[in-house]
Each structure stands twice: as structure tokens, then as C-alpha cells.
């Protein structure tokens, strides 16, 4: 690694923090435009810094003896728990974190830029940019965390920034509800994460990632032999940690918050709920991958199946949704499922670790094209003032740039050669193929479905019927189109980055290649999906309705998202609220407090009952007096002489 000092990296998260503080505290004193520019400027700086870091790391200083080093650029003790356990705050640079730095800063920068145009004239723009900065800070802190507790801290912070941003339109009840839901669901998942951390740290005696994930170290192997309910303690710990990841990455069954999270402003959806925060779960698993692999193989299998199921499940739902942002949201779910699956099927070291590499690769490319899709959707919504695709149609004439970039994105996600989606998806399929044929088959279906629903969206919005609009839709301003174009370019060319030489499971580069036996059928499936979508949706016709009628139950279940929301609602509203919280409140008022009041009341009653003693009659007093004396005398003579 040489003597290069990476400690400047600390500024990468800190600059957005300052930007947040300035905008948060004094933002309302600034002019609206200035706030946007300030935020964007800050992001521009760290974008450049990240690129510079990536360059220095990958091409200059990172590779030593054929292995990418894990570099701790800075590390300070933040809180001491015990002699061994302490939370540090620091910067850890290794291939995945540097890659994530690039992803986060790139998308964030684009989104900031885009937001200047998108949010123009909105109330509370300074708040918006402050939150965006806060999010960026938290996300970067998460990415560069040196230990699992630091990650947890920033994990919570991204959660809260997400909460704040989803609820940005806080006067809209649906947005408020969505933000609440997002927070509570992820919070619930984080509970698992926390307990997982507790178990893990207790077994291994450290929070530190480098110590934890060193395959040669002893920490990783501890706890494997202690069993609990059929699995090793380590497996349980990792499963619980994955629960946190699943919550944030919206894996089934904790996915319910993500579609609702689309209530936030669209650029936010692009940044948080498509490109960065939702892949934090993937990043977490990738970060702890050696532990999963060496000590918690069952957990890894579960991850693979959860990922696989989620990808299929979400893809099916995406086919029937009408809200374009929700389609994209389910698409995101599906794609993250891919990444999880890839990690789940991955082995360790060079070619065995193909899945690991593929997952990160897909994370990278997905960030670009999904951000592009969302920003494009934002441009559409900006133009049409509606989220529903049945209110759109024929927009290609009105929004040429948006149309072009959107098409590129759709093709990318459908996985057509030579767009970036193709490469990353192909690696995932290859990895799955070697490990598990069932998952492999599922992924093929998902590939087809993806192509179908994306082009359904594309055709309905840009072709389809000619809709009459209240206002004539107009192309977005240049602050919005520049990011679109940039991301489109990135989506197209990102596939050519030799990822296997940069990000691998054991940090040792290997030669990646494309398995055409797998790739060609996948392209074919993609094309098939596109074709079906084109037949059904390019012109207005009754195929969709007939299709829906034929697959009546599937359609209805899919349209209603398989009623998962209702189940949750039942559990929370009915069971927790009605059968736990309310009885607890009642119990507290009437039983616990009632006892206290009862004691007081009893005293009063006794006091009332015995008042006859004080009758006012002198002779009765005398009687009591003498009886008392005699009774005392008898009792004590008896006791004394005994």
C-alpha cells in the first residue's frame, strides 16, 4: 500500500455533514436556489474525491502482492464498552467500500443536481437538501465503517434520513404513514441486526471487520461448535444480522415498506430506494461474507433462497402495478433479490467467488440504471403530474431526451448485450448455475418477467394510447436532463469495467469471462419478454384485459401484492394494538393503579367504619377504658406466666 495517506477520506462523509448542518440550521435564511447549489457543490467535491480515491486505491496503491489491501485510513475510539469491545469511528478502504463510495457519491451527486430542477418552487427546499446531505453522510459513513457497530450506527442514521425524506411531504397523510411504516419495519429488522451483533461480538470478542473477516484469524471460527436449536450460534448470529440486511434491502417478508416509500419525492426514491440505501443489506452481507462462508453456511443458503424468492415474487407483482414508481420499486426488489441470491450461491476465492463479484457488479450497474429509471420516471411525473401509467401514453413526442434515456435503461435492465445489465446479470446466472439449478431456473424466469414489465411500462408510457393532457407535457430543464444523460452513458458502458479484477471475495483479482452458453438464452428470454410486452402494450388493445381475465386469481393476487400488507396490518392493528397495548393500558389503570387506589379507599372505609368507637358517650368511653385495661391484664398475665 505504500506510504500513501488516505486519511483525507474522512472528509468524504464530513463534507455532507457540514452541508447538512449549515442547511439545517440556517437554510431557511438562504435563497432557495442557493441551498440547492450549496448542497450540489458539496456533493460535487466529494464525488471528485471519491473518484480520486478509487483511482488511487485500485490503480496505484491498493494492490500489493496481488491482493487488494484493507486499509484503515483513520480510526478513533468513540466509545469503550469493555476492554475488548469498543466502537471505533474510522475509514476502512477495501475494494467493496471504495466501489460503494463511487456508487453513492455518483448517484447522490446526480440526484442533487437533478433535484435543483425537480424541486424548484417546492416548499422547504432547504430542508430537502439538508436531508439529502444527511443521507449522503450517513450512507458514506456506513460504507466506510471499520467495524460492525459503526456500520450499525450509520445504518440507523440512513434509516432515519430515509424516514425524513419519505415523509418530506409531511402534510400528505399517505406520506406520513409510509414514512412511519418504513421506519418501523426496518427498525424491527434492526432489532435482529442488533441482537446478531451482540451474539457475534460476544463470541468473537471484537467488532472490527478486519479481525472478524480474516479467514485465517481465529475470530471467524469461534462459536461454530456451540449449537443452539440445530444450528451453530454463529449461524444464528449471522441470520439475525441478515435480518437487518433483509429489512433494509426489503427482502421478503420485510419488503412491505419499499413500495409505500415511493411517497417520497422521486429523486429521493432514485437515490435511497433504488441505488444506495436498499443495497445496504447486500453490502452488509458482502462485508461479512467470509464469516457467512466459513462459519455460517446454512445462513448463506437461506440468503440465496430468500433472494431468489424475492426476485420472483417482486417481478410477478411488478407486472400488474399501475403506479410507475411502484413498478420500479418492485423491480428494485427483484433486482436486489438477484444480488442476494448471487451472494448466497457464491463460494470463496477466485472463480468460486464469482457470485460475490457478480453481486457487487450488479449492485454497481443496477445503481446506475435504476437511478436512471427513477430519474426518468421523475421527469415523466414532473411533466404529467401523475404517477399512474393509465393516465399516460404517447409521451415519446413530448419528452425526447427522457424517452431516449429511459429506453436505454429499460434495455439495460432487460439485459441486452452489450449494455451493462447484461454483464452483471450474466455473471449472477453463471454463479447460480454452478451452485443450484432450481435458483438458476427461477432467475431465468425473472429475467423474462423483468424484460416484460419494464417494457410494459415503457410502451404504455411512451407509446400506447394518445392521451389528452391538461397541460401540454414539456421536457425537463437541463439540470434534470444532464443527470439523465450521464447515467445513461454510465449504464451503457459500466459493463465493460473488469469487475473481477477489482472486487472479489478474497480481494485477489481473477480473470472474468462471459459464459455464452448461459448468456445467449438469457438474452433470448429478455427479447421474448420485450416482444410480448410490445404486442400487448404498444398499441391500445384488449390483450391485457383478456390476459387478466384468463389469469384471474394470479392477477388479482399480484395486483394486491399477495395481501402481505393486509397480513401485517392485521398483526399490528389487531393483535399488537388491540390485544396487547390496549389491555396493558387497561391493566395499568385498573389493576395496578386500582390496587393503589384500593388501598387508599380501604383506609377511608375502615376509618368510617370504626367511627362508632368515638360515640361521645362518657360511659362508653369508661367501658372501653376498663375493658381495655382488663383485657390487657388478662392477656399479659397469661403470656407472662406461661
Amino acid at each position: 500500500m505504500g506510504d500513501f495517506n488516505f486519511s483525507y477520506c474522512v472528509w468524504i462523509p464530513l463534507i455532507p455533514l457540514f452541508s447538512f448542518l449549515i442547511l439545517g440550521l440556517f437554510g431557511n435564511k438562504f435563497k432557495e436556489k442557493l441551498t440547492g447549489i450549496l448542497g450540489t457543490l458539496a456533493l460535487g467535491i466529494i464525488f471528485a474525491l471519491s473518484l480520486y480515491t478509487a483511482y488511487e486505491y485500485f490503480f496505484v496503491h491498493g494492490l500489493v502482492n496481488g491482493t487488494y489491501q484493507k486499509i484503515i485510513a483513520i480510526n478513533v475510539t468513540w466509545l469503550q464498552f469493555t476492554d475488548k469491545l469498543h466502537i471505533n469511528m474510522g475509514v476502512l478502504l477495501d475494494p467493496i467500500s471504495v466501489m460503494m463510495l463511487v456508487v453513492v457519491t455518483t448517484v447522490s451527486f446526480m440526484v442533487h443536481l437533478y433535484s435543483i430542477g425537480y424541486m424548484k418552487g417546492e416548499r422547504g427546499v432547504e430542508r430537502y437538501f439538508a436531508f439529502l446531505s444527511l443521507f449522503t453522510f450517513s450512507m458514506l459513513g456506513l460504507v466506510i465503517a471499520t467495524n460492525i457497530f459503526q456500520m450499525y450506527i450509520f445504518w440507523e442514521l440512513v434509516g432515519v434520513s430515509s424516514y425524513l425524506l419519505i415523509g418530506f411531504y409531511y402534510q400528505k397523510p399517505s406520506a406520513v404513514a409510509a414514512s412511519k411504516k418504513a421506519f418501523i419495519v426496518t427498525r424491527f429488522a434492526d432489532l435482529g441486526f442488533l441482537i446478531g451483533i451482540l451474539i457475534l461480538s460476544f463470541i468473537t470478542g471484537t467488532f472490527d471487520f478486519i479481525t472478524l473477516t480474516d479467514p485465517a484469524g481465529e475470530a471467524i471460527h469461534r462459536g461454530a461448535e456451540i449449537g443452539f436449536m440445530g444450528m451453530s450460534v454463529m449461524t444464528w448470529a449471522m441470520l439475525l444480522i441478515f435480518m437487518g440486511g433483509a429489512g433494509k434491502s426489503a427482502m421478503f417478508p420485510l419488503h412491505i415498506w419499499l413500495p409505500d416509500a415511493m411517497e417520497g419525492p422521486t429523486p429521493v426514491s432514485a437515490l435511497i430506494h433504488a441505488a444506495t440505501m436498499v443495497v445496504a443489506g447486500v453490502y452488509l452481507v458482502a462485508r461479512l461474507f467470509p464469516i457467512f462462508h466459513f462459519s455460517a453456511q446454512p445462513a448463506l443458503n437461506i440468503i440465496a433462497y430468500v433472494g431468489g424468492f424475492t426476485s420472483l415474487f417482486a417481478a410477478v407483482i411488478a407486472c400488474t402495478q399501475l403506479d410507475i414508481k411502484r413498478v420500479l420499486a418492485f423491480s428494485t426488489l427483484s433486482q436486489i433479490g438477484y444480488m442476494m441470491l448471487a451472494l448466497g450461491v457464491s463460494g470463496y476465492g477466485s472463480h468460486d467467488g464469482l457470485g460475490f463479484m457478480a453481486s457487487n457488479f450488479h449492485l454497481f450497474t443496477h445503481a446506475m440504471f435504476k437511478a436512471l429509471l427513477f430519474l426518468g420516471a421523475g421527469a415523466i411525473i414532473h411533466a404529467v403530474h401523475s404517477n399512474y401509467m393509465n393516465e399516460m401514453g404517447g409521451l415519446r413526442k413530448h419528452l425526447p431526451i427522457t424517452h431516449a434515456t429511459f429506453l436505454i435503461a429499460c434495455l439495460t435492465i432487460a439485459g441486452l448485450y452489450p449494455l451493462s445489465g447484461f454483464f452483471s446479470k450474466d455473471e449472477i446466472l453463471a454463479a447460480a448455475f454452478h451452485k443450484d439449478k432450481l435458483l438458476f431456473a427461477v432467475e431465468y424466469c425473472v429475467a423474462g418477467l423483468t424484460a416484460f414489465y419494464m417494457f410494459r411500462l415503457y410502451f404504455v408510457v411512451f407509446w400506447g394510447k394518445d392521451t389528452q393532457y391538461h397541460h401540454k407535457p414539456h421536457e425537463a430543464p437541463f439540470t434534470m436532463t444532464i443527470p439523465l444523460m450521464f447515467l445513461a452513458i454510465a449504464s451503457v458502458f459500466a459493463g465493460f469495467i473488469p469487475f473481477s479484477e477489482l472486487v472479489t471475495s478474497d480481494s485477489i483479482p481473477f480473470e472474468g469471462e462471459i459464459d455464452w452458453m448461459i448468456a445467449i438464452p438469457s438474452i433470448a428470454v429478455g427479447l421474448l419478454g420485450i416482444l410480448i410486452a410490445m404486442i400487448m402494450y404498444r398499441k391500445e388493445n384488449n390483450y391485457p384485459a383478456r390476459m387478466a381475465a384468463t389469469l384471474k386469481y394470479l392477477y388479482r393476487w399480484s395486483f394486491n401484492k399477495f395481501y402481505i400488507d393486509e397480513i401485517y396490518l392485521f398483526i399490528t392493528k389487531k393483535i399488537i394494538f388491540r390485544y396487547i397495548a390496549r389491555p396493558v393500558a387497561w391493566f395499568d389503570r385498573h389493576m395496578v393503579d386500582g390496587t393503589m387506589n384500593g388501598i387508599a379507599g380501604m383506609t377511608n372505609v375502615i376509618s368510617f367504619r370504626i367511627r362508632g368507637l368515638q360515640s361521645g358517650q362518657l360511659q362508653k368511653y369508661g367501658f372501653v377504658f376498663i375493658t381495655g385495661a382488663l383485657a390487657l391484664a388478662l392477656v399479659f398475665i397469661y403470656l407472662w406466666t406461661k
Binding site: T603, N604, I606, S607, F608, I610, R611, L613, Q614, G616, L618, K620, Y621, G622, V624, F625, I626, T627, G628, A629, L632, A633, F636, I637, L639, W640, T641
Partner: protein
């Protein structure tokens, strides 16, 4: 016996002198100037009180019938202080036209009871004790019936004199049995031959009942509330602190000197009686509306607390009892002083509900009453807290943790009703609160002494230390 030996009876003689002086003033002053008796008496009595604190010889007189020691002197001084405060507080009330003709009566009667109490405390045999006791009781009946035009006052008088006579009859019966079984009435001789035969136990219980009447322990307390309510406020206040204090003093002295042998017996008796006294007193106090009656029950439950110090019969116990009585004098007289001031100014408003909104009109009186009640309840920083704490320490010293627990739980009940009065003054709203009035200098002085006492006695540790150094036990 030399003439100087009479100096041992300094307190008693001075008081007798006072009685004579007041009598002379009464006889030779013409009617218009009768009111001047008040400041003169107060001034003289203040001097007597101060003289009481001067160092004095200790020893015995009349072949052991009369004995005095540092502790006895301390007790007498404490009683003097109490009486002095009562005198000061009563001055305004005595000025009323209805009392014009009987100002000196009040003083003479009280001073006689005080003489009786002093003899009672210093007594070395049961004869002197009995004489003192009766001298301390009979005038009180007259004092209770002082207000001749009030039904209640007469009722109080009759109830007191009859109950008192009955109790002293029973006690005497017990004493006669003690005499019969031991052949002596001298404390030291009785103590040395007392063995605790059943007859002696019976005798002790009868004696105990007589004392319990004076201290108003349950179930010998029933006269208390009626007499306190019926008697004029200042008499009640005297009755509740000084009279009770004297009885407690001699009671504890006799227990540790005469009935030393049967200590386990009387400890058990006191255990039962003190629990009963605290609890019943509290339960009755909760529901009272007349503040004098309320304070009567409160004083009953206070008696239960005082017994906690007696029960151990230890040095610490005796010291804490004496100390508590001192504190109790200031607290209770503080409370009664306010009640008296209000009663005098408003022509007899004595219900707690009359006190609604008192704070708005008379903040000074309200704060005084509050402090006094807090002291009674044992809330810091006022002296009652220290007093109670030492009592509790004394009872715990002997290992009576169950009794201690019952006692502390009773303090909560008592706090409840004390707070009811505080609540009436500070929180309750009233359409017709007691109007603002100005008290005369005497009342103010009386209350000021109480407040000063409440604040100082607790923090000034030498007071307790001094009492402790004089104390004696089993």
C-alpha cells in the same frame, strides 16, 4: 436537711412564687388594668424559664421522695418552654372581653398544673407521683371548662374530670397492689423487690392504664378528641403538648427505674399499644373536619410514635423521647398557635373547610401552619424529621424492625391528612376565604418562636447531644 437543699426544688419554688405573684396582682389590681397581668406574667415567666436553665444542684430530698438530676431539669425546662409559648399565644385570646374577669385564673391554673408536673417528674415515690399527677390533672378540668358560656367547653370539662378520676382510681388500685406486694412506695425500693408475680403484672397494667390515659394511648384515648375539641384552643394546645409531655417523661422514668425487672413484659405491651395508637389515631384523623379534633387525633398518633422511643428503654430511646417532646412542643404549638389566632380573629372558625384559600389572604399564617404540620409529619428540613428519625433509630436499635415498618407506614397515612390541611390552604378555592387580619405582637412572637424552634432545633445538633449526655436507661 439544710435550707440550701430547697434549691433542689428551684423550679417548683419559682413556680409557686409565680402563682402567688399572679394571685396578688389579681387581688390588688383594679378591673380596668387586669389586662396588664398578661405582659407581667409572661415577662416573669420568661425569666423563670431562663433561670431554669442556669446550672442547678442535683440530688434527693425528703428521704428520696423528691429527686432531681440533669435529665429531670431538662424535662422541666422543656415543659417551661412549652408553657411559656402557650402563655404568649394565649395573650391575644385572653384580651377578649369574655375573658376579662378570668385572666389570672388561666395563669394560676396553668401554673399549678405545671407545679404538679414538675413534682411528678421529680417524684421518687408513688405518693409524690400521685400528688403531682392529680395536681397536674384537676386544674386542667377547670381549664377545659374555662369558657363558661359554651356547651362544648363544659362538656369537655366534665368528660375530662370523670375520665381522669376513673383512670386515677384504676391506677391507684394498681398502686395499692404494688404497695401490698412490695411493701414500699419508693421507686428504688419497689424496683429492687419487684419480681413480676401475676398480681404485680395486674398492678402494672392498671398503673399503665392510668398513664396511658394521660398520654392518650389507644384504647384509653377516647376522652382526648372531645376534650380537645371542646376546650378553648389555648388550653387544648397546653393539654396536647405540655401535659402529655410531662406524662411521657415520668412514664419513661418509672418504666426504666421501677419496672426494670419486667422490661420484656412492658415492651410487649407497648409494642401492641403503640401500633394501636398510631393506627387508630391516624384512621380517625383522616376524616375529621374540625381542626382541633383533627389535631387531637394527630396527637394521639404522635403519642404512638413517642412510645417507639420508650419501648427500648435505652439511653438513646430516652434521649430521643425527650428530644421529640421538645420538637413536638414547637410543632404542635405552631399548629395550635395558628388555629388559635384564626379562631380568635374570626370568632371561632375552626373547621378545615374554613381554611380554604387561606394562603391567598394570610400567607404568613399558612406557611407557619404548613411548617408545623410538616414537622409533625416528619418532613425535613424542619425539626420533626430529626425527632422522628431518632425515635426510629431508637426502636431499630432494639431490633424491633416490624414495629418500625408499621410505624413508617403510619407516617404515610399521617402525611396524607396533614397534606389535606395544606391542600385546603394552598390549593382549594373558596368563595369566602377567611379575610386578612392582623394579629397582635404576642401571637406573632409566639409563632415566630415556634418557627425558629422548628428550623433551629433540627440543625443544631448540640441540643440533641446535650439531652443524650443526660439520658439514662435500663
Amino acid at each position: 436537711m439544710r435550707l440550701e437543699d430547697f434549691l433542689l426544688m428551684r423550679h417548683e419554688m419559682l413556680l409557686t412564687l409565680m402563682v402567688v405573684i399572679v394571685l396578688i396582682m389579681e387581688i390588688f389590681m383594679d378591673d380596668r388594668h387586669k389586662r396588664c397581668i398578661r405582659p407581667w406574667t409572661i415577662g416573669l415567666f420568661a425569666a423563670v424559664t431562663i433561670i431554669g436553665f442556669l446550672p442547678a444542684p442535683t440530688g434527693t430530698l425528703f428521704g428520696g421522695m423528691f429527686q432531681t438530676s440533669g435529665m429531670h431539669l431538662m424535662m422541666k425546662n422543656i415543659l417551661n418552654i412549652g408553657a411559656l409559648i402557650v402563655f404568649i399565644q394565649a395573650a391575644q385570646w385572653l384580651k377578649l372581653d369574655s375573658n376579662h374577669n378570668k385572666i389570672s385564673e388561666f395563669y394560676i391554673l396553668i401554673l399549678s398544673t405545671l407545679i404538679g408536673m414538675n413534682f411528678m417528674i421529680s417524684s421518687g415515690d408513688f405518693l409524690m407521683f400521685y400528688l403531682g399527677l392529680e395536681l397536674a390533672s384537676i386544674p386542667i378540668a377547670a381549664l377545659a371548662a374555662y369558657d363558661t358560656f359554651s356547651n362544648k367547653s363544659s362538656e369537655a370539662g366534665i368528660k375530662f374530670i370523670f375520665s381522669s378520676a376513673l383512670s386515677s382510681g384504676i391506677m391507684l388500685y394498681g398502686l395499692s397492689m404494688i404497695y401490698g406486694t412490695t411493701g414500699s412506695v419508693y421507686f428504688d425500693q419497689v424496683g429492687s423487690v419487684y419480681t413480676g408475680t401475676p398480681l404485680q403484672v395486674l398492678a402494672f397494667i392498671f398503673f399503665f392504664a392510668g398513664m396511658a390515659f394521660k398520654i392518650s394511648m389507644v384504647p384509653f384515648h377516647l376522652w382526648t378528641a372531645d376534650v380537645y375539641e371542646g376546650a378553648p384552643v389555648n388550653v387544648t394546645s397546653y393539654l396536647s403538648v405540655v401535659s402529655k409531655g410531662a406524662a411521657v417523661f415520668i412514664f419513661s422514668i418509672i418504666l426504666v427505674t421501677v419496672f426494670r425487672v419486667i422490661a420484656p413484659l412492658w415492651q410487649n405491651v407497648i409494642w401492641v399499644i403503640s401500633v394501636l395508637t398510631m393506627t387508630i389515631g391516624n384512621l380517625f384523623a383522616i376524616r375529621q373536619n374540625n381542626i382541633k379534633r383533627f389535631l387531637a387525633f394527630s396527637s394521639i398518633s404522635q403519642a404512638g410514635f413517642i412510645l417507639l422511643g420508650v419501648i427500648g428503654g435505652s439511653t438513646l430511646g430516652m434521649a430521643s423521647v425527650v428530644y421529640y417532646v421538645l420538637v413536638y412542643i414547637f410543632s404542635n404549638l405552631g399548629a395550635f398557635g395558628v388555629v388559635a389566632a384564626i379562631s380568635t380573629a374570626t370568632g371561632g372558625k375552626e373547621n378545615i373547610s374554613d381554611y380554604d384559600g387561606l394562603y391567598k389572604t394570610n400567607p404568613g399564617l399558612s406557611w407557619t401552619l404548613t411548617l408545623a404540620l410538616f414537622s409533625l409529619a416528619g418532613i425535613p428540613p424542619v425539626a420533626g424529621f430529626f425527632g422522628k428519625f431518632f425515635l426510629f433509630t431508637a426502636v431499630a436499635e432494639q431490633g424491633y424492625y416490624a414495629l418500625l415498618t408499621i410505624a413508617v407506614l403510619n407516617t404515610i397515612v399521617s402525611l396524607y391528612y396533614y397534606l389535606l390541611v395544606v391542600k385546603a390552604m394552598f390549593i382549594n378555592k373558596s368563595d369566602h376565604p377567611i379575610a386578612y387580619f392582623k394579629s397582635d405582637g404576642f401571637t406573632k412572637l409566639g409563632l415566630a418562636i415556634c418557627i425558629a424552634g422548628l428550623v433551629v432545633i433540627g440543625f443544631a445538633s448540640p441540643i440533641f447531644e446535650f439531652i443524650k449526655s443526660l439520658s439514662f436507661g435500663l
